[in-house]
């Protein structure tokens, strides 16, 4: 029979293909078994001898998802608003308001950032060319330019994240773009989330900024302090002004920003409360007693001071090219061991930026055993660095990473050769992470971690064990039941089921898909659903036999008539599989994929394989029993 031959050929081809795809998985498994038995020198020789084959097998094997092997999945979102802000020139109040508006809108909706941003300007009748490109360019061109820059920024961000992850040495990381501005990073086997956070999130924008003169810094702090008490015009009134009037002028909102609930009651007459009333700013920011220009802020007060300094009325008090910058770490000081952040007065424009750094190396300071990172600069950077250090001997230069100051050493002498070092890290590990991010380069815009999931190795092992257990029991029960209920025909269906499992695994391996726990659940469910096709066929054959047909005719009729039901019902299930794949992430997609592959494999094995077996049997005069 020609049909029979075609079917046999199809089955053999499918089996060979499935085995071919599963071969690397088997090889990988057997390599690991062999390696496990060896130890010491033997295992090294074994790896040396089989390195290529092992890498090949590892690359092509059926991979386990993060939920099964343990690891971390992080979704990053590139801060496009910051990018738009960075790209703009001549920023004014209007611009800043729009940036703020867009930021709040994007936080709660899923709107695309750039169209929203552009519309805001158009609604207010402001031409984009005021801030971007040149005055002759129209809005459409600038929008295209911004879209292009955003696209480039995201691609560059992915590249840098990949660089960092590679240097962090994770085996088989997976980094991919999702939607317009998201990056998915999957790190198998990684556990330490705070390290990953440091590794991925920092933009690694390195800047060298000169510190402002301590005298100026103190005067700025003093003016903020006076502004908060409300006695800005202290000189003109000659100090004779009644207290009541001064109270009226108090910038109450700024004050409450700083003090919140902790403001001392007016009835409080202790010296402390009096000081807080008279010098609100200095109560929170303690200027350095040696007159070095920094202020000390208690760890718990940091947020309040940050918000106060951000207020426009406070910003107005700052002289041009003046900026307060925070230390990266809080330091333990004082007798009571409380931790303080340092507030440094620095110039707004950076003397030099991290783009010039060509290499970084984590190390230990031989003098005090503290972790450090040594940096090397390119020729241009070295020249600038020599000039800057030469011109500022005995002044202080702050080394800032992502707007936080790591250290602010005094320049001792002119540094030629483009060397510099960062100190102020808490641990050698932190220094190593810093080395990685400096080497990989700066991100074009900050990224935020918007989702993070990690699975520990023991939960993964639990999941594999229970998943496999469930699959095994499901398979055993189903096989036994089919045998019992349909006799020989049940046995044939069981053979089809075994092939079905082989095909599902083969196709998964062939697609380079990963096996997840829901994926295993999908296989278990497929075991249950797979017998449906054979139940339909077998029930139909029983009916036809009962109707008085010969066995051969009944089998033919059974397959023919059951086919539309099998086809239509499976197509509809497949449809939900497709939609599920679209909706889901990671593990869920694994489930959708196994479900879809399972349906396709079921159709094939239940319809083609069992048919071949029945035909062969009846040709040889064997009578299959339909129970």
């Amino acid at each position: 029979m020609k049909n029979q031959l075609t079917r046999v050929f199809l089955i053999i081809a499918a089996v060979i293909l499935a085995l071919y795809f599963l071969w690397p998985t088997y090889k990988d498994y057997s390599f690991r078994q062999q390696l496990g038995a060896l130890s010491g020198q033997d295992s090294i020789t074994f790896v040396d001898q089989n390195l290529d084959a092992m890498t090949e097998a590892k690359l092509k094997r059926l991979k386990l998802g993060l939920d099964l092997q343990g690891g971390m999945r992080v979704v990053l979102e590139v801060d496009l608003i910051q990018l738009l802000d960075d790209l703009a020139k001549n920023k004014d109040e209007n611009f800043k308001t729009i940036v703020r508006d867009v930021r709040t809108q994007v936080a709660t909706t899923e709107l695309a950032v750039i169209p929203l941003f552009v519309r805001q300007f158009q609604d207010r009748g402001i031409r984009l060319s005021r801030y971007y490109l040149s005055i002759r360019d129209d809005d459409a061109r600038i929008t295209a330019y911004l879209e292009d820059e955003a696209e480039k920024a995201i691609d560059r961000a992915i590249e840098i994240v990949r660089n960092r992850v590679d240097q962090y040495r994770v085996s088989e990381p997976n980094i991919q773009k999702q939607g317009g501005r998201r990056i998915i990073v999957e790190l198998p086997g990684v556990k330490d989330e705070s390290e990953v956070r440091q590794l991925l999130q920092g933009t690694a924008k390195l800047e060298f900024k000169l510190l402002k003169d301590p005298q100026i810094a103190y005067r700025v702090m003093e003016s903020i302090d006076k502004f908060l008490t409300g006695i800005t015009d202290v000189d003109t009134t000659g100090g004779k002004k009644p207290a009541a009037v001064a109270t009226q002028q108090k910038p109450t909102s700024a004050l409450s920003e700083l003090m919140g609930e902790s403001a001392p009651a007016t009835t409080d007459t202790t010296a402390e409360a009096k000081f807080v009333r008279e010098h609100p700013f200095f109560a929170y920011v303690r200027p350095d007693q040696r007159g070095s220009g920094e202020g000390y802020v208690l760890e718990k007060d940091r947020e309040r001071v940050v918000r106060l300094l951000e207020r426009p009325e406070v910003q107005r008090l700052l002289p041009p090219d003046f900026q307060f910058a925070w230390s990266a770490k809080a330091q333990q000081m004082g007798e009571d061991g409380s931790k303080y952040f340092l507030l440094y007065p620095v110039r707004q424009t950076a003397e030099l930026t991290g783009g010039v750094v060509t290499d970084a190396q984590a190390s230990v300071d031989p003098e005090d055993n503290r972790p450090i990172v040594n940096m090397e600069m390119n020729t241009e950077g070295s020249r600038d660095w020599a000039r800057i250090t030469g011109a500022n001997i005995n002044k202080r230069i702050a080394i800032m990473l992502d707007n936080a100051i790591f250290s602010a050493p005094v320049v001792q002498n002119k540094i030629t050769g483009g060397r510099s070092r960062i100190t102020g890290m808490e641990s050698p590990n932190e220094a190593r992470l810093l080395e990685i991010v400096l080497k990989a380069g700066a991100l074009p815009a900050p990224v935020a971690i918007i989702e993070q999931r990690s699975v520990g190795p023991s939960l993964g092992e639990d999941s594999v064990r229970s998943g496999m257990n469930a699959a095994m029991w499901a398979l055993l029960i189903t096989i036994f039941f089919m045998l019992l209920y349909y006799n020989t025909a049940g046995f044939v269906a069981d053979i089809a089921l075994a092939f079905n499992m082989l095909f599902i695994l083969g196709v998964l391996a062939g697609f380079q898909a990963t096996l997840t726990l829901p994926g295993i659940a999908g296989m278990v469910l497929t075991i249950g659903m797979a017998v449906d096709a054979n139940v339909l066929i077998n029930e139909r054959i029983r009916e036809e036999l009962a109707g008085g047909k010969t066995l051969r005719a009944a089998i033919d009729a059974g397959y023919d008539k059951a086919f539309t039901a099998i086809f239509d019902s499976n197509v509809t299930t497949f449809l939900t599989g497709i939609i599920l794949f679209q909706f889901g992430t990671g593990p869920i997609q694994g489930f959708a994929l196994t479900l879809m592959i399972g349906i396709a494999a079921t159709m094939f094995s239940a319809v083609v394989i069992t048919r071949v077996v029945f035909n062969a049997a009846t040709d040889k005069g064997i009578t299959p029993n339909f129970g």
Binding site: I449, F481, P518, D532, T573
Partner: protein
């Protein structure tokens, strides 16, 4: 072996009773949903969640005290499967970066003699949760529409509607029963996570499978016995397919039970949802899908004579 002899149950004759039963179940479920709201899991709510495994049994109240030391005493704390495994959930993430470190430190201090290991950690931003909710709703609606369209084309439009209603029935019944079970506080609750949404879509997929098989038989019966009234043709088809319906769904149900018992804590909610949906789906493909088609056809017939 044969469990089912040829039956001739008048399934569709009793359809009004079953309409009522379904309506009551759905109404009860919806009431519970309205009172409780949907029990969203971490995926959809956003926040931080951590599952830790202690070496020895621990008391939840003790964990609460330990977490209270760092101001996280109001977190949701419950066991996860076995008594050593504890799930801790903090809904707000004001300073998400520190929350997990804070929890770990607090547990280290509070349970110095009972070391623990972090099994799983999830932190989901509020935006992600919102997006997932939208896309989950879309996924369910689209799969219903896609199925309706396919069946409408392969059979008749009215069959598409019948399938749609029976699938919507399955989703609502399952959602309602989950909500009712959660409110009964049986020490086991199912939250709507991504996995559970996947289970809902699978329910749709498996239930429609059943419905289509019955429709296919009706289509065939109507072709052979042209004179047979629709109700009889439907009853005949459902009866003829009864053996298959029960064998197949029985097998799937047993398999789901295996998954529920052996599949582990992580997919328990998923397996449980599927099992409930499976029962609802089997029932609805017998009682709802065909019944809707029948009643619509009857309505058409009763209108026709009046016009002529």
């Amino acid at each position: 072996m044969r469990l089912f002899k040829a039956t001739s149950i008048n399934f569709l004759g009793a359809r009004n009773v079953w309409y009522l039963v379904s309506t009551l179940v759905i109404a009860a479920g919806l009431t519970s949903l309205l009172i409780r709201g949907i029990d969203f899991g971490i995926d959809f709510r956003g926040g931080s969640e951590m599952i830790v495994r202690f070496q020895q049994k621990v008391d939840i109240a003790q964990i609460r005290t330990a977490l209270g030391e760092v101001g996280l005493g109001r977190s949701e704390i419950k066991t996860f499967g076995i008594e050593q495994d504890i799930l801790i959930r903090v809904s707000e993430d004001i300073n998400a970066a520190q929350t997990s470190t804070q929890i770990k430190e607090a547990l280290k201090v509070g349970f110095a003699a009972n070391p623990f290991e972090v099994l799983q950690e999830q932190r989901i931003g509020p935006k992600i949760g919102k997006e997932l909710r939208t896309s989950a709703t879309y996924a369910i609606v689209w799969s219903l529409v896609a199925i309706m369209a396919y069946i409408g084309i392969r059979f008749q439009f009215i069959y598409g509607i019948g399938a749609l209603l029976s699938l919507a029935h399955d989703v609502l019944v399952t959602l309602g029963i989950l909500s009712i079970l959660n409110s009964l506080d049986l020490g086991f609750s199912v939250e709507i996570t991504q996995e559970v949404v996947a289970a809902f879509l699978t329910i749709i997929g498996v239930s429609v499978n059943d419905t289509v098989v019955v429709f296919d038989r009706i289509r065939e019966t109507l072709k052979i016995h042209r004179a047979l009234p629709l109700q009889e043709a439907m009853n005949k088809s459902v009866n003829e397919m009864l053996g298959r319906t029960i064998i197949t769904n029985g097998t799937i149900f047993v398999v789901l039970l295996v998954l529920l018992l052996f599949g582990g804590e992580v997919i328990r909610g998923f397996a449980f949802t599927l099992a409930i949906g499976q029962i609802a789906g089997t029932y609805s493909s017998i009682y709802i899908a065909s019944a809707v088609v029948l009643d619509t056809e009857k309505l058409k017939l009763s209108k026709k004579p009046k016009k002529s």
